[in-house]
């Protein structure tokens, strides 16, 4: 009887496992989608050191966040403004200086990205709506390398349309298609 039922048991087990694997995949996909895979930056830039310990403003580096649609990342010259004299013996700083020496600029990996068909303006959200950076970008001041993280209250997929609309709804912001869709 034992051997007689083995194919059946195996088949059921297989189906269950495939099911579990699919569920696992979906869940991990969700998690990864929400926080993003850990970006592999060429230099481990520590946000927490610069913001929490040194007290730099976000706008010190992401200087266009209140002026333009893009928040922008700084060019290497801004890094060198300090690090040509300060903390030059820290390994990551050494690494950074070497990269700048070699290539002139650092190829940061993109962490946040809106789709091509989306119009997103940083300055409208920061200046007019007065939204804190952390509300969308999470507690960056506690991160080393920035990872995709939502500080928002929504359960919807991060940086997806539902996520945007929930906040627009809550704040009474325009919900016309053309507000965001190009």
């Amino acid at each position: 009887m034992k051997t007689k039922n083995l194919p059946l048991i195996l088949a059921v087990a297989m189906i269950m496992w495939v099911g579990i694997v699919i569920i696992l995949a979906i869940v991990s996909q969700k998690i990864i989608h929400r926080f993003g895979p850990l970006p592999e930056q060429p230099v481990e830039f520590s946000h927490t050191v610069h913001v929490n310990q040194l007290g730099l403003e976000c706008l010190y580096c992401h200087s266009s966040a209140e002026k333009s649609i893009h928040a922008t990342i700084p060019s290497s010259s801004l890094c060198l403004d300090c690090h040509e004299g300060v903390d030059m013996d820290i390994p990551e700083v050494k690494k950074m200086l070497a990269i700048i020496e070699e290539k002139g600029e650092i190829d940061w990996e993109r962490v946040y990205e809106v789709k091509d068909h989306v119009y997103f303006s940083h300055r409208v959200h920061t200046v007019i709506a007065k939204i804190e950076c952390q509300e969308c970008h999470g507690p960056v001041e506690h991160m080393t390398v920035a990872i995709r993280a939502s500080g928002g209250s929504s359960d919807r997929g991060f940086m997806e349309m539902g996520w945007c609309v929930t906040c627009h709804e809550r704040r009474g912001a325009p919900r016309e298609c053309i507000t965001c869709h190009k």
Partner: protein
């Protein structure tokens, strides 16, 4: 199965599945690049504007270059510039496609005879040329350049050798005007026109809306005269040999036999002396004029031109009836051996009508030898054939396209040991050079353009060069250093401006002025009419005494005229211009020969049939288009096809009409002739269908284009009439527009149908070009098209774009809510939502929705031109005009940052911005001060297909039909 127990099976399954998980979720990694040069004032994502000058044709309109993230994405007219006043023609806007042309020369190369092309570095190319150029006489052949660049090149050539020569080859430009003024008034000056002062323009072939002199400026002037002032609008009478945009816009149009325009004008002058009180001439002089003009009777003019005596008398009466007249003469009509005579005749008629000082004046200070006469080019070729020239440098010119006898030119060029081409793209001429050096496009370089009258326009670069090119001045200096010319190019330009500043006696410091000038785009002071005392007594009389009647051919004459889209062929490498339908016949991607039905009957021709045209021992092939708008003895073809070598967009299967032109010249000015007499037509038995994007010009009962008479306008205006919105049942709930309610008003009375708006739309919205096959299948993508319809026996133009209906038929049928109504009155298309059912397009009565049948490829470097504010629609998606919603969005954001609403004129779509005549207005209907609010109640207003109750947001104003008084 036996070897695999349960435990191992599960283990491996688990391993496998875990290994799969990260793979599913991997996103493509994209890199962020910081701005390399962090110029403090430059913010990524923000557009910047640089004032510059368009050099696509010799008019030199002022432009504004729109720069995003370091690249120029659009060219608009400079609103402060005296020539463009904010508008820009289709050719000027398409200059971007020269800058980002796939066929741009990317590096210096050498190609000697049949040897393969060898890539060179700049250093090696310059070093090779340096040694070769030392020997023999050097000839520099350039396109139209103005005084400052000209003197630079001349100085540089002086450093090479005493004998080195500069030849400016620009066959479309005519010296006849200077010559005619010299003959008539003893002053070799250029003309200055003031169409806005005229109430009758009698135009003998001058295509001032397309190519003649300065089309944007003159169209603007004309539109000002076409607005109702003192119960009147200007009347335009066109007398020509073939049909044109200007002729089609005219209130009356007459076709005369080629070469007879001078006789017509002189007979009208003669008639006026006897029959008009208006004449500018006192009684004492009258008898002398009469004596000199007596040979030119209406009878004579009628016999030669084919106009009836009644028609000629009517023209004379018109000149008599209107106080402020202007007679224009030019382009192909005057491009024959006696062309200068015709322009003198126009001067005489203008003089007798008293136009000088009123609608026309002579400009002082324009150099007589602006361009070298094409007749002298013969001498140059002769010199080459006699082995007197060892080096030729071509710059910005293409004689190999416009020169008729290609064999002769080829033979001559073969004899020149060193041929260098300084070019942006490889054209027919540059392809024959030994060394090809890429030079900057106007958008990449600095320069100063002389507009005459101490007006100067600045050429300012909008971006870093796209490829490894250099400014022409720098290339020349590196080939052979001239000690008198400064080494630093930008310093040289600044020095030139310094001397201009000193010359015009500017106020304040130069630095401050220079900075202001960079913003403004030049210095100009064009406000008043020049003092207009001209004296025609001596010159005109001797001219009339020696006037010889032209020999008129009774056989067919070919009019190979400048093209509205390709000018003298230079625009033929730009896909926007090929896809912009011809203004009158809506054909694309080909150039047909236009023939009268009589001619078609005589030779048994049908549309699309390919004929062989021959003349002067040369022949070309072209497809036929039959039209009754042309004189029966004339066949016409625009320049633009038949390039031997001009990149991937050039149309090669149709011949080059310039090949048929004769090798003789204007007898007085030496200008190029654009009429080929005694052309023979032969059938070839082949055919190639013309792709025409408008099938019929008959609007039936549809009332798409509507018209109202001037009398009616005056009457209704006096009554204070307003437009009444037709009463219609309301089935759907009405949309509310709380803050903005966008509205466009298009005045059909001012629209000349030039197509600037259509090209502006292509440039702004990255509208794909589908090519000839695509157009043939009806899959063209133009969001805005210009339609032509017959009203009361004349043709009128109407720009047709998405009407942004309040009750939109498209919205109700979309199954996925991809097209929805916004709270600002726009009909929005959400591209990434669209699944491509095409129901909306089926239900659209205006047929303005376009479906992407083809995937769009933006080949490098054309992708650099794409507007980052626009989503680039993939295949299978419906697209359409949304009143440039990204421009509105940006203007709203800008206003919001300042805590206010958008002001009138801040947010306008690209088409409205580009219109040279100001026919289009756009604004917020909720703003009581906006232009559209004032126009929306105009009694001329109507909607297209009002009966359908779609309630469009585009309001058309009926065309005003001119009527004679009395």
């Amino acid at each position: 199965m036996n070897n695999l127990d349960r435990r191992n099976f599960l283990k491996s399954l688990g391993m496998l599945s875990l290994a799969m998980v990260p793979d599913i979720s991997r996103r493509p990694i994209r890199k962020l690049f910081p701005l390399l040069i962090p110029a403090e004032e430059i913010i990524p994502g923000t557009p910047y504007w640089y004032a510059s000058t368009c050099c696509e044709c010799p008019a030199r309109c002022g432009t504004m270059l729109k720069v995003r993230e370091g690249r120029v994405i659009k060219i608009e007219g400079n609103p402060n510039h005296p020539l463009s006043r904010g508008g820009l023609c289709p050719r000027g806007q398409a200059a971007l496609q020269e800058l980002y042309n796939v066929d741009r020369i990317r590096f210096p190369f050498k190609k000697i005879d049949n040897a393969p092309k060898t890539k060179l570095t700049w250093d090696s190319a310059i070093n090779e040329i340096k040694e070769l150029i030392e020997v023999g006489k050097t000839l520099f052949i350039s396109g139209y350049i103005t005084s400052i660049q000209k003197s630079y090149i001349q100085t540089w050539l002086g450093g090479i050798s005493e004998a080195a020569q500069l030849f400016i080859y620009e066959p479309a430009l005519r010296n006849s005007y200077y010559e005619a003024n010299r003959i008539a008034f003893g002053r070799p000056d250029a003309n200055e026109y003031h169409l806005e002062n005229a109430d009758l323009i009698m135009d003998f072939g001058a295509e001032f809306m397309e190519t003649w002199e300065s089309p944007v400026e003159l169209s603007h002037q004309y539109s000002n005269a076409r607005r109702v002032r003192n119960e009147n609008i200007v009347k335009l009478i066109y007398v020509g040999i073939s049909e044109s945009l200007t002729g089609t816009n005219a209130d009356e149009e007459y076709k005369i036999h080629p070469k007879t325009e001078a006789v017509v004008m002189l007979s009208l002058a003669n008639w006026l002396l006897d029959n008009s009180q208006k004449s500018n001439i006192n009684d004492r002089e009258k008898s002398t004029w009469r004596r000199n003009l007596q040979a030119f009777t209406l009878q004579k003019a009628s016999e030669m031109s084919g106009l009836s005596i009644e028609q000629l008398t009517h023209l004379g009466k018109q000149l008599d009836q209107y106080p402020n007249t202007l007679i224009l003469c030019g382009d192909a009509v005057a491009a024959h051996e006696q062309g200068t005579d015709s322009i003198v005749a126009a001067n005489i008629l203008n003089y007798i009508c008293g136009s000088y000082g009123n609608t026309i004046a002579l400009k002082s200070g324009q150099p007589l030898d602006a361009v070298d006469a094409p007749v002298d080019f013969e001498a140059v070729i002769e010199e080459i054939l006699n082995d007197q020239i060892s080096n030729i440098i071509f710059y910005n010119t293409n004689p190999f396209y416009t020169y008729p006898d290609k064999e002769r030119l080829r033979k001559a060029l073969k004899k020149v040991p060193l041929k260098i081409a300084l070019a942006t793209t490889l054209n027919d001429t540059a392809a024959m050079a030994d060394y090809v050096l890429p030079v900057h496009h106007t958008i990449e370089t600095w320069g100063v353009e002389d507009l005459g009258n101490e007006d100067y326009s600045l050429v300012q670069p909008g971006m870093q060069p796209v490829f490894d090119s250099k400014p022409v001045e720098v290339v020349l200096q590196s080939i052979r250093k001239h000690t008198r010319l400064p080494n630093d190019f930008e310093q040289y330009i600044e020095n030139e401006w310094q001397s201009i500043f000193n010359e015009i006696g500017g106020n304040g410091s130069f630095e401050k002025n220079w900075k202001e000038m960079l913003l403004k785009g030049g210095v100009w002071n064009r406000t008043t009419l020049q003092s207009a005392q001209v004296d025609a007594s001596q010159g005109a009389f001797s001219f009339l005494q020696n006037y010889e009647l032209p020999k008129v051919s009774e056989r067919l004459t070919l009019n190979a005229h400048l093209s509205h889209r390709y000018y003298d062929g230079v625009g033929a490498n730009k896909s926007w211009l090929w896809e912009l339908p011809h203004q009158l016949y809506h054909y694309v991607w080909d150039v047909p020969v236009r023939v009268h039905p009589n001619v078609a009957r005589e030779y048994g021709l049908a549309e699309g049939e390919i004929v062989s045209l021959s003349c002067n021992n040369r022949s070309i092939e072209a497809p036929v288009l039959i039209t009754d708008q042309i004189h029966p003895k004339v066949i016409a073809m625009e320049l633009g096809s038949g390039h031997a070598n001009y990149g991937q967009h050039a149309v090669k299967e149709t011949g080059n009409p310039a090949d048929l032109l004769p090798l003789n010249f204007d007898r007085i000015s030496g200008d190029k002739i654009f009429l080929a007499e005694n052309v023979e037509i032969k059938k070839t038995g082949k055919r190639r269908d013309l792709v025409r994007l408008q099938g019929s010009y008959d609007q039936g009962e549809r009332k798409i284009v509507q018209q109202i008479s001037l009398k009616e306008v005056v009457r209704l205006h006096k009554q204070g009439a307003v437009r009444e919105e037709p009463h219609a049942p309301k089935i759907y709930p009405e949309h509310e527009h709380e803050v903005y309610d966008w509205m466009m008003v298009i005045d059909l009375s001012l629209c000349t149908g030039c197509g600037a708006c259509a090209v502006a739309c292509y440039a702004e919205n990255a509208v794909p070009v589908v090519g000839k096959q695509g157009c043939k299948h009806g899959r063209e993508m133009a969001w805005l098209r210009l339609e032509k319809f017959e009203v009361d026996g004349r043709y009128r133009f109407i720009p047709m774009l998405c009407q942004q209906c309040e009750i939109a038929p498209c919205e109700t049928v979309c199954p996925v809510y991809a097209t929805v109504h916004s709270n600002e009155g726009l009909n929005i298309q959400v591209y990434n939502r669209c699944v491509g059912t095409r129901y909306c397009s089926n239900n659209c009565p205006y047929k303005v929705r376009r479906f992407n049948y083809y995937p769009t490829r933006w080949e490098e470097p054309t992708n650099l031109q794409l507007n980052p504010d626009i989503y680039h629609r993939p295949k299978g998606v419906m697209e359409k005009c949304t009143f440039c919603v990204h421009r509105l969005r940006r203007a709203k954001e800008e206003a919001k940052m300042q805590g206010r609403l958008v002001k009138d004129g801040e947010a306008i779509p690209a088409c409205v911005q580009s219109c040279p005549t100001g026919a289009m207005s756009f604004g917020n209907l909720n703003n009581p001060d906006s232009r559209v609010t004032k126009m929306v109640n105009n009694f001329r207003g109507y909607h297209v297909f009002e009966v359908l109750n779609t309630q469009p947001s585009v309001l058309y104003l009926k065309n005003i039909k001119h009527e004679d008084k009395g």
